[in-house]
Subunit: 244 residues, 2 copies
Protein backbone atom coordinates (compact mmCIF):
# COMPACT_ATOMS: atom_id res chain seq x y z
CA UNK A 1 0.00 0.00 0.00
CA UNK A 2 1.48 3.33 -1.09
CA UNK A 3 2.08 5.99 1.55
CA UNK A 4 1.10 9.50 0.62
CA UNK A 5 -1.71 8.19 -1.54
CA UNK A 6 -5.16 9.71 -1.36
CA UNK A 7 -8.16 7.72 -0.18
CA UNK A 8 -10.87 6.35 -2.45
CA UNK A 9 -14.18 6.58 -0.60
CA UNK A 10 -17.12 4.44 -1.64
CA UNK A 11 -19.85 6.65 -0.26
CA UNK A 12 -23.37 5.24 -0.07
CA UNK A 13 -25.92 7.93 -0.88
CA UNK A 14 -28.95 5.94 0.21
CA UNK A 15 -32.24 5.48 -1.63
CA UNK A 16 -32.43 8.83 -3.42
CA UNK A 17 -33.65 11.56 -1.09
CA UNK A 18 -30.55 13.64 -0.15
CA UNK A 19 -32.11 14.14 3.30
CA UNK A 20 -31.64 10.39 3.85
CA UNK A 21 -27.89 10.50 3.25
CA UNK A 22 -25.83 9.94 6.38
CA UNK A 23 -24.24 12.90 8.12
CA UNK A 24 -20.86 11.42 7.10
CA UNK A 25 -21.83 11.05 3.44
CA UNK A 26 -23.24 14.56 3.38
CA UNK A 27 -19.99 15.97 4.75
CA UNK A 28 -17.79 13.97 2.38
CA UNK A 29 -19.82 14.90 -0.69
CA UNK A 30 -19.93 18.61 0.16
CA UNK A 31 -16.19 18.67 0.73
CA UNK A 32 -15.18 16.58 -2.28
CA UNK A 33 -12.51 17.78 -4.69
CA UNK A 34 -13.05 14.78 -6.99
CA UNK A 35 -16.27 12.84 -7.43
CA UNK A 36 -16.64 9.73 -9.58
CA UNK A 37 -19.91 8.08 -10.50
CA UNK A 38 -21.34 5.42 -12.79
CA UNK A 39 -23.92 6.27 -15.41
CA UNK A 40 -25.40 5.05 -18.62
CA UNK A 41 -23.96 6.84 -21.64
CA UNK A 42 -26.01 9.91 -22.43
CA UNK A 43 -27.75 10.00 -19.04
CA UNK A 44 -27.01 12.34 -16.13
CA UNK A 45 -26.53 9.39 -13.76
CA UNK A 46 -28.76 8.51 -10.80
CA UNK A 47 -26.06 8.88 -8.15
CA UNK A 48 -24.85 12.17 -9.62
CA UNK A 49 -28.39 13.51 -9.67
CA UNK A 50 -28.86 12.86 -5.94
CA UNK A 51 -26.02 15.26 -5.08
CA UNK A 52 -26.94 17.89 -7.67
CA UNK A 53 -27.08 20.85 -5.32
CA UNK A 54 -24.36 19.71 -2.93
CA UNK A 55 -21.07 19.80 -4.85
CA UNK A 56 -18.35 22.44 -4.59
CA UNK A 57 -18.14 24.84 -7.53
CA UNK A 58 -14.60 23.66 -8.27
CA UNK A 59 -15.28 19.91 -7.96
CA UNK A 60 -13.75 17.72 -10.66
CA UNK A 61 -16.10 15.04 -11.97
CA UNK A 62 -15.29 11.61 -13.33
CA UNK A 63 -18.22 10.05 -15.18
CA UNK A 64 -17.73 6.29 -15.47
CA UNK A 65 -19.99 5.30 -18.36
CA UNK A 66 -21.11 1.68 -18.60
CA UNK A 67 -20.15 0.27 -22.00
CA UNK A 68 -23.25 -1.96 -22.04
CA UNK A 69 -26.24 -2.34 -19.84
CA UNK A 70 -29.21 -4.09 -21.30
CA UNK A 71 -28.00 -4.51 -24.90
CA UNK A 72 -26.27 -7.84 -24.11
CA UNK A 73 -27.88 -10.66 -22.11
CA UNK A 74 -26.54 -11.09 -18.56
CA UNK A 75 -25.51 -14.68 -19.25
CA UNK A 76 -23.70 -13.85 -22.51
CA UNK A 77 -19.94 -14.34 -21.92
CA UNK A 78 -19.39 -11.16 -23.92
CA UNK A 79 -21.22 -9.23 -21.21
CA UNK A 80 -18.83 -10.19 -18.42
CA UNK A 81 -15.75 -9.64 -20.60
CA UNK A 82 -16.91 -6.22 -21.68
CA UNK A 83 -17.75 -5.11 -18.14
CA UNK A 84 -14.54 -6.58 -16.77
CA UNK A 85 -12.47 -4.48 -19.16
CA UNK A 86 -14.49 -1.42 -18.22
CA UNK A 87 -14.02 -1.92 -14.47
CA UNK A 88 -10.28 -2.51 -14.96
CA UNK A 89 -9.98 0.69 -16.95
CA UNK A 90 -11.84 2.97 -14.54
CA UNK A 91 -10.08 1.36 -11.57
CA UNK A 92 -6.74 2.23 -13.14
CA UNK A 93 -7.85 5.80 -13.62
CA UNK A 94 -8.95 6.15 -9.98
CA UNK A 95 -5.81 4.35 -8.76
CA UNK A 96 -3.54 6.78 -10.63
CA UNK A 97 -5.42 9.76 -9.25
CA UNK A 98 -5.26 8.41 -5.69
CA UNK A 99 -1.54 7.63 -6.06
CA UNK A 100 -1.00 11.26 -7.03
CA UNK A 101 -2.29 12.15 -3.56
CA UNK A 102 -5.89 13.06 -4.31
CA UNK A 103 -8.92 11.84 -2.35
CA UNK A 104 -11.81 10.65 -4.51
CA UNK A 105 -15.44 10.30 -3.51
CA UNK A 106 -17.18 7.56 -5.48
CA UNK A 107 -20.92 8.28 -5.39
CA UNK A 108 -22.87 5.05 -4.83
CA UNK A 109 -26.63 4.62 -4.96
CA UNK A 110 -27.96 2.67 -2.00
CA UNK A 111 -25.43 0.83 0.18
CA UNK A 112 -22.07 0.23 -1.57
CA UNK A 113 -21.62 -3.40 -0.43
CA UNK A 114 -25.21 -4.47 -1.20
CA UNK A 115 -25.48 -5.34 -4.94
CA UNK A 116 -23.46 -2.21 -5.79
CA UNK A 117 -21.28 -1.49 -8.83
CA UNK A 118 -18.66 0.03 -6.52
CA UNK A 119 -17.80 -3.49 -5.33
CA UNK A 120 -16.16 -4.15 -8.70
CA UNK A 121 -13.82 -1.19 -8.16
CA UNK A 122 -13.28 -2.05 -4.51
CA UNK A 123 -11.91 -5.52 -5.19
CA UNK A 124 -9.56 -4.10 -7.85
CA UNK A 125 -8.27 -1.20 -5.72
CA UNK A 126 -8.22 -2.22 -2.07
CA UNK A 127 -4.75 -3.77 -2.10
CA UNK A 128 -3.12 -0.81 -3.84
CA UNK A 129 -4.51 2.36 -2.28
CA UNK A 130 -6.54 3.20 0.84
CA UNK A 131 -10.22 2.48 0.19
CA UNK A 132 -12.96 3.23 2.71
CA UNK A 133 -16.65 2.49 2.55
CA UNK A 134 -19.57 4.42 4.06
CA UNK A 135 -22.70 2.26 4.46
CA UNK A 136 -26.07 3.77 3.66
CA UNK A 137 -29.81 3.34 3.87
CA UNK A 138 -30.77 0.69 1.33
CA UNK A 139 -33.44 1.14 -1.29
CA UNK A 140 -35.33 -1.71 0.36
CA UNK A 141 -35.50 0.16 3.71
CA UNK A 142 -36.99 3.15 1.93
CA UNK A 143 -39.37 0.80 0.11
CA UNK A 144 -40.80 -0.93 3.15
CA UNK A 145 -41.04 2.42 4.93
CA UNK A 146 -43.05 3.71 1.95
CA UNK A 147 -45.60 0.91 2.35
CA UNK A 148 -46.39 2.08 5.87
CA UNK A 149 -46.13 -1.49 7.16
CA UNK A 150 -43.23 -2.97 9.19
CA UNK A 151 -41.42 -5.65 7.20
CA UNK A 152 -40.19 -8.13 9.83
CA UNK A 153 -41.56 -9.13 13.23
CA UNK A 154 -40.21 -11.48 15.88
CA UNK A 155 -38.36 -14.34 14.23
CA UNK A 156 -39.42 -13.64 10.64
CA UNK A 157 -36.87 -14.78 8.05
CA UNK A 158 -36.45 -12.11 5.37
CA UNK A 159 -35.32 -13.27 1.92
CA UNK A 160 -33.87 -10.73 -0.48
CA UNK A 161 -34.34 -11.99 -4.05
CA UNK A 162 -33.68 -10.58 -7.52
CA UNK A 163 -36.25 -10.18 -10.28
CA UNK A 164 -33.59 -11.53 -12.63
CA UNK A 165 -33.76 -15.01 -11.04
CA UNK A 166 -35.52 -17.84 -12.94
CA UNK A 167 -39.21 -18.08 -12.08
CA UNK A 168 -39.00 -21.55 -10.52
CA UNK A 169 -36.19 -20.41 -8.24
CA UNK A 170 -38.17 -17.34 -7.22
CA UNK A 171 -41.19 -19.50 -6.44
CA UNK A 172 -39.19 -21.96 -4.36
CA UNK A 173 -37.48 -19.26 -2.29
CA UNK A 174 -40.67 -17.18 -1.91
CA UNK A 175 -42.52 -20.24 -0.62
CA UNK A 176 -39.97 -20.70 2.15
CA UNK A 177 -39.67 -17.02 3.18
CA UNK A 178 -41.61 -15.24 5.95
CA UNK A 179 -40.91 -11.79 4.50
CA UNK A 180 -39.69 -11.04 0.98
CA UNK A 181 -37.92 -8.24 -0.83
CA UNK A 182 -37.54 -8.55 -4.60
CA UNK A 183 -35.02 -6.11 -6.06
CA UNK A 184 -34.52 -5.14 -9.72
CA UNK A 185 -38.11 -5.85 -10.63
CA UNK A 186 -38.44 -3.70 -13.77
CA UNK A 187 -39.39 -5.73 -16.80
CA UNK A 188 -39.29 -8.89 -14.68
CA UNK A 189 -42.58 -7.89 -13.03
CA UNK A 190 -44.76 -10.45 -14.88
CA UNK A 191 -42.36 -13.24 -13.82
CA UNK A 192 -42.30 -11.96 -10.24
CA UNK A 193 -46.11 -11.91 -10.20
CA UNK A 194 -46.26 -15.49 -11.45
CA UNK A 195 -43.80 -16.63 -8.80
CA UNK A 196 -45.71 -14.85 -6.02
CA UNK A 197 -48.93 -16.43 -7.27
CA UNK A 198 -47.37 -19.90 -7.27
CA UNK A 199 -45.96 -19.28 -3.77
CA UNK A 200 -49.42 -18.24 -2.51
CA UNK A 201 -48.21 -14.78 -1.47
CA UNK A 202 -49.40 -12.47 -4.23
CA UNK A 203 -52.26 -11.08 -2.12
CA UNK A 204 -49.80 -9.77 0.46
CA UNK A 205 -47.37 -8.21 -2.05
CA UNK A 206 -46.70 -4.50 -2.51
CA UNK A 207 -44.99 -2.73 -5.40
CA UNK A 208 -42.80 0.28 -4.63
CA UNK A 209 -41.39 2.57 -7.32
CA UNK A 210 -38.83 5.33 -6.70
CA UNK A 211 -38.82 4.91 -2.92
CA UNK A 212 -38.04 8.16 -1.04
CA UNK A 213 -38.07 10.25 -4.24
CA UNK A 214 -40.63 12.76 -5.50
CA UNK A 215 -42.10 10.09 -7.83
CA UNK A 216 -42.53 7.56 -4.99
CA UNK A 217 -45.45 5.18 -5.45
CA UNK A 218 -46.28 2.34 -3.08
CA UNK A 219 -49.37 0.23 -3.80
CA UNK A 220 -50.62 -3.30 -3.21
CA UNK A 221 -49.44 -5.29 -6.22
CA UNK A 222 -53.05 -6.20 -7.02
CA UNK A 223 -53.74 -2.50 -7.65
CA UNK A 224 -50.55 -1.78 -9.58
CA UNK A 225 -51.85 -2.30 -13.11
CA UNK A 226 -49.89 -3.65 -16.03
CA UNK A 227 -47.85 -0.65 -17.17
CA UNK A 228 -44.03 -0.93 -17.23
CA UNK A 229 -42.26 -0.09 -13.96
CA UNK A 230 -38.73 1.30 -13.42
CA UNK A 231 -35.79 -1.14 -13.21
CA UNK A 232 -35.16 -0.34 -9.54
CA UNK A 233 -38.74 -1.01 -8.46
CA UNK A 234 -39.03 -3.24 -5.41
CA UNK A 235 -41.65 -5.79 -4.42
CA UNK A 236 -42.24 -6.32 -0.71
CA UNK A 237 -44.12 -9.07 1.12
CA UNK A 238 -44.34 -8.18 4.81
CA UNK A 239 -43.72 -10.77 7.49
CA UNK A 240 -46.45 -11.75 9.92
CA UNK A 241 -44.36 -12.90 12.88
CA UNK A 242 -44.83 -12.64 16.62
CA UNK A 243 -46.22 -9.33 17.81
CA UNK A 244 -47.29 -8.83 21.42
Amino acid sequence: MSTGAGTIWGVGLGPGDPDLMSVRADRLVRGAGHVAFFRKAGRPGRARTIVDRMLRDDVREIAMEYPVTTEIALDDPGYAACLSGFYAEVSERLRDLALSGEDIIVLCEGDPFFYGSFMHLYTRLKDDVPVRVVPAITGMSAAWTATGIPVTWGDDALYVLLGTMPQAELTRRMTDADAIVVMKVGRNLPKVRNALQAAGKIDRAWLVECASMAEERAVPLSEAGDQPVPYFSIVIVHGQGRRP
Copy 2:
Protein backbone atom coordinates in the same frame (compact mmCIF):
# COMPACT_ATOMS: atom_id res chain seq x y z
CA MET B 1 -57.35 11.27 12.97
CA SER B 2 -57.29 14.31 15.23
CA THR B 3 -56.47 17.71 13.74
CA GLY B 4 -54.10 19.89 15.74
CA ALA B 5 -52.35 16.81 17.07
CA GLY B 6 -48.58 16.63 17.14
CA THR B 7 -46.67 14.06 15.11
CA ILE B 8 -45.03 10.97 16.54
CA TRP B 9 -41.82 10.35 14.63
CA GLY B 10 -40.20 6.93 14.62
CA VAL B 11 -36.68 8.04 13.86
CA GLY B 12 -34.14 5.40 12.92
CA LEU B 13 -30.74 6.23 14.40
CA GLY B 14 -28.81 3.62 12.44
CA PRO B 15 -26.21 1.18 13.75
CA GLY B 16 -24.72 3.27 16.56
CA ASP B 17 -22.24 5.81 15.21
CA PRO B 18 -24.04 9.19 15.29
CA ASP B 19 -22.14 10.11 12.11
CA LEU B 20 -24.16 7.38 10.34
CA MET B 21 -27.52 8.93 11.25
CA SER B 22 -29.35 10.43 8.30
CA VAL B 23 -29.34 14.17 7.81
CA ARG B 24 -33.09 14.08 8.53
CA ALA B 25 -32.68 12.09 11.74
CA ASP B 26 -29.88 14.37 12.89
CA ARG B 27 -32.06 17.44 12.36
CA LEU B 28 -35.11 15.92 14.07
CA VAL B 29 -33.12 14.76 17.10
CA ARG B 30 -31.34 18.09 17.58
CA GLY B 31 -34.62 19.97 17.35
CA ALA B 32 -36.68 17.63 19.53
CA GLY B 33 -38.75 18.98 22.41
CA HIS B 34 -39.77 15.47 23.51
CA VAL B 35 -37.77 12.29 22.98
CA ALA B 36 -38.97 8.82 23.91
CA PHE B 37 -36.85 5.70 23.94
CA PHE B 38 -36.93 2.09 25.07
CA ARG B 39 -34.47 0.75 27.61
CA LYS B 40 -33.93 -2.03 30.07
CA ALA B 41 -34.69 -0.93 33.63
CA GLY B 42 -31.58 0.46 35.23
CA ARG B 43 -29.70 0.92 31.95
CA PRO B 44 -29.09 4.21 30.09
CA GLY B 45 -30.62 2.76 26.90
CA ARG B 46 -28.75 2.09 23.65
CA ALA B 47 -30.79 4.47 21.50
CA ARG B 48 -30.56 7.23 24.12
CA THR B 49 -26.80 6.77 24.34
CA ILE B 50 -26.35 7.31 20.58
CA VAL B 51 -27.79 10.84 20.84
CA ASP B 52 -26.02 11.73 24.07
CA ARG B 53 -24.42 14.94 22.87
CA MET B 54 -27.17 16.01 20.48
CA LEU B 55 -30.21 16.87 22.58
CA ARG B 56 -31.47 20.33 23.46
CA ASP B 57 -30.86 21.43 27.05
CA ASP B 58 -34.60 21.74 27.63
CA VAL B 59 -35.59 18.44 26.00
CA ARG B 60 -38.16 16.35 27.88
CA GLU B 61 -37.33 12.66 28.03
CA ILE B 62 -39.68 9.69 28.19
CA ALA B 63 -37.88 6.48 29.15
CA MET B 64 -39.99 3.47 28.18
CA GLU B 65 -38.64 0.65 30.37
CA TYR B 66 -39.25 -2.93 29.26
CA PRO B 67 -41.03 -4.83 32.05
CA VAL B 68 -39.24 -8.08 31.08
CA THR B 69 -36.53 -8.94 28.65
CA THR B 70 -34.75 -12.21 29.23
CA GLU B 71 -36.35 -13.23 32.53
CA ILE B 72 -39.25 -14.99 30.77
CA ALA B 73 -38.88 -17.35 27.80
CA LEU B 74 -39.97 -15.92 24.44
CA ASP B 75 -42.54 -18.67 23.93
CA ASP B 76 -44.06 -18.30 27.41
CA PRO B 77 -47.60 -16.87 26.99
CA GLY B 78 -46.85 -14.64 29.98
CA TYR B 79 -44.13 -12.93 27.95
CA ALA B 80 -46.47 -11.73 25.19
CA ALA B 81 -49.16 -10.68 27.67
CA CYS B 82 -46.70 -8.72 29.77
CA LEU B 83 -45.18 -6.96 26.76
CA SER B 84 -48.59 -6.31 25.23
CA GLY B 85 -49.72 -4.46 28.35
CA PHE B 86 -46.49 -2.49 28.36
CA TYR B 87 -46.83 -1.40 24.72
CA ALA B 88 -50.46 -0.42 25.27
CA GLU B 89 -49.50 1.68 28.28
CA VAL B 90 -46.64 3.59 26.63
CA SER B 91 -48.68 4.04 23.45
CA GLU B 92 -51.40 5.68 25.50
CA ARG B 93 -48.89 8.01 27.07
CA LEU B 94 -47.46 9.05 23.70
CA ARG B 95 -50.96 9.37 22.19
CA ASP B 96 -52.08 11.72 24.96
CA LEU B 97 -48.99 13.86 24.53
CA ALA B 98 -49.42 14.03 20.74
CA LEU B 99 -53.12 14.87 21.14
CA SER B 100 -52.09 17.80 23.34
CA GLY B 101 -50.27 19.17 20.28
CA GLU B 102 -46.70 18.09 21.00
CA ASP B 103 -44.36 16.43 18.50
CA ILE B 104 -42.47 13.43 19.87
CA ILE B 105 -39.30 11.89 18.51
CA VAL B 106 -39.10 8.18 19.28
CA LEU B 107 -35.44 7.17 19.15
CA CYS B 108 -35.06 3.82 17.36
CA GLU B 109 -31.89 1.78 17.04
CA GLY B 110 -31.31 0.60 13.48
CA ASP B 111 -34.21 0.91 11.03
CA PRO B 112 -37.62 1.27 12.73
CA PHE B 113 -39.52 -1.16 10.46
CA PHE B 114 -36.84 -3.88 10.52
CA TYR B 115 -37.27 -6.00 13.69
CA GLY B 116 -37.80 -2.80 15.72
CA SER B 117 -39.67 -2.28 18.99
CA PHE B 118 -41.17 0.90 17.57
CA MET B 119 -43.37 -1.25 15.33
CA HIS B 120 -45.42 -2.22 18.39
CA LEU B 121 -46.17 1.44 19.07
CA TYR B 122 -46.73 2.22 15.41
CA THR B 123 -49.54 -0.30 14.98
CA ARG B 124 -51.23 0.98 18.14
CA LEU B 125 -50.93 4.70 17.25
CA LYS B 126 -51.12 5.14 13.48
CA ASP B 127 -54.91 5.35 13.24
CA ASP B 128 -55.22 7.93 16.04
CA VAL B 129 -52.46 10.49 15.55
CA PRO B 130 -50.01 11.37 12.74
CA VAL B 131 -47.09 8.94 12.82
CA ARG B 132 -44.11 9.23 10.48
CA VAL B 133 -41.14 6.94 10.09
CA VAL B 134 -37.56 7.79 9.09
CA PRO B 135 -35.67 4.76 7.72
CA ALA B 136 -32.06 4.26 8.71
CA ILE B 137 -28.88 2.33 8.06
CA THR B 138 -29.40 -1.16 9.46
CA GLY B 139 -26.99 -2.85 11.85
CA MET B 140 -26.43 -5.48 9.17
CA SER B 141 -25.20 -2.87 6.66
CA ALA B 142 -22.69 -1.63 9.22
CA ALA B 143 -21.73 -5.25 9.94
CA TRP B 144 -20.96 -6.27 6.36
CA THR B 145 -19.13 -2.98 5.83
CA ALA B 146 -17.01 -3.81 8.91
CA THR B 147 -15.94 -7.12 7.38
CA GLY B 148 -14.43 -5.29 4.40
CA ILE B 149 -16.13 -7.71 2.00
CA PRO B 150 -19.19 -6.97 -0.16
CA VAL B 151 -22.16 -9.08 0.93
CA THR B 152 -24.14 -9.72 -2.28
CA TRP B 153 -23.06 -9.97 -5.93
CA GLY B 154 -25.07 -10.44 -9.09
CA ASP B 155 -28.12 -12.57 -8.38
CA ASP B 156 -27.15 -13.67 -4.86
CA ALA B 157 -30.15 -14.38 -2.62
CA LEU B 158 -29.58 -12.90 0.84
CA TYR B 159 -31.38 -14.55 3.76
CA VAL B 160 -31.76 -12.63 7.00
CA LEU B 161 -32.19 -15.09 9.87
CA LEU B 162 -32.45 -14.83 13.65
CA GLY B 163 -30.19 -16.56 16.16
CA THR B 164 -33.34 -17.33 18.12
CA MET B 165 -34.60 -19.76 15.43
CA PRO B 166 -34.42 -23.52 16.10
CA GLN B 167 -31.15 -25.06 14.91
CA ALA B 168 -32.73 -27.32 12.28
CA GLU B 169 -34.57 -24.35 10.77
CA LEU B 170 -31.36 -22.31 10.70
CA THR B 171 -29.54 -25.16 8.97
CA ARG B 172 -32.24 -25.60 6.34
CA ARG B 173 -32.42 -21.91 5.47
CA MET B 174 -28.62 -21.46 5.56
CA THR B 175 -28.19 -24.37 3.17
CA ASP B 176 -30.45 -22.68 0.63
CA ALA B 177 -29.01 -19.15 0.93
CA ASP B 178 -26.28 -17.57 -1.20
CA ALA B 179 -25.51 -14.89 1.38
CA ILE B 180 -26.56 -14.94 5.05
CA VAL B 181 -27.08 -12.46 7.84
CA VAL B 182 -27.85 -13.83 11.30
CA MET B 183 -29.16 -11.19 13.70
CA LYS B 184 -29.49 -11.42 17.49
CA VAL B 185 -26.65 -13.91 17.81
CA GLY B 186 -25.67 -13.32 21.47
CA ARG B 187 -25.96 -16.47 23.53
CA ASN B 188 -27.27 -18.34 20.48
CA LEU B 189 -23.74 -18.37 19.01
CA PRO B 190 -23.05 -22.08 19.68
CA LYS B 191 -26.33 -22.99 17.94
CA VAL B 192 -25.55 -20.67 15.02
CA ARG B 193 -22.10 -22.29 14.69
CA ASN B 194 -23.63 -25.78 14.62
CA ALA B 195 -26.13 -24.72 11.95
CA LEU B 196 -23.41 -23.13 9.80
CA GLN B 197 -21.33 -26.28 10.17
CA ALA B 198 -24.23 -28.48 9.10
CA ALA B 199 -24.93 -26.16 6.15
CA GLY B 200 -21.30 -26.38 5.06
CA LYS B 201 -20.77 -22.63 5.36
CA ILE B 202 -18.92 -22.17 8.63
CA ASP B 203 -15.58 -21.52 6.90
CA ARG B 204 -17.00 -18.48 5.13
CA ALA B 205 -18.70 -16.97 8.21
CA TRP B 206 -17.70 -13.76 9.96
CA LEU B 207 -18.68 -12.52 13.42
CA VAL B 208 -19.29 -8.80 13.91
CA GLU B 209 -19.77 -7.20 17.33
CA CYS B 210 -20.78 -3.58 17.91
CA ALA B 211 -20.68 -2.62 14.22
CA SER B 212 -19.80 1.04 13.64
CA MET B 213 -19.11 1.67 17.34
CA ALA B 214 -15.83 2.22 19.17
CA GLU B 215 -15.87 -1.43 20.31
CA GLU B 216 -16.37 -2.76 16.76
CA ARG B 217 -14.83 -6.17 16.14
CA ALA B 218 -15.14 -8.08 12.85
CA VAL B 219 -13.36 -11.44 12.57
CA PRO B 220 -13.72 -14.72 10.71
CA LEU B 221 -15.90 -16.89 12.94
CA SER B 222 -13.13 -19.50 13.08
CA GLU B 223 -10.94 -16.96 14.90
CA ALA B 224 -13.64 -15.61 17.20
CA GLY B 225 -12.99 -17.82 20.21
CA ASP B 226 -15.59 -19.09 22.66
CA GLN B 227 -16.18 -16.09 24.92
CA PRO B 228 -19.73 -14.68 25.18
CA VAL B 229 -20.70 -12.08 22.57
CA PRO B 230 -23.20 -9.19 22.83
CA TYR B 231 -26.88 -9.86 22.01
CA PHE B 232 -26.79 -7.66 18.93
CA SER B 233 -23.77 -9.41 17.39
CA ILE B 234 -24.26 -10.35 13.76
CA VAL B 235 -22.94 -13.28 11.74
CA ILE B 236 -22.35 -12.71 8.04
CA VAL B 237 -21.74 -15.20 5.23
CA HIS B 238 -20.84 -13.28 2.06
CA GLY B 239 -22.31 -14.25 -1.30
CA GLN B 240 -20.11 -15.41 -4.12
CA GLY B 241 -22.23 -14.48 -7.12
CA ARG B 242 -21.38 -13.17 -10.56
CA ARG B 243 -18.59 -10.61 -10.64
CA PRO B 244 -17.11 -9.42 -13.96
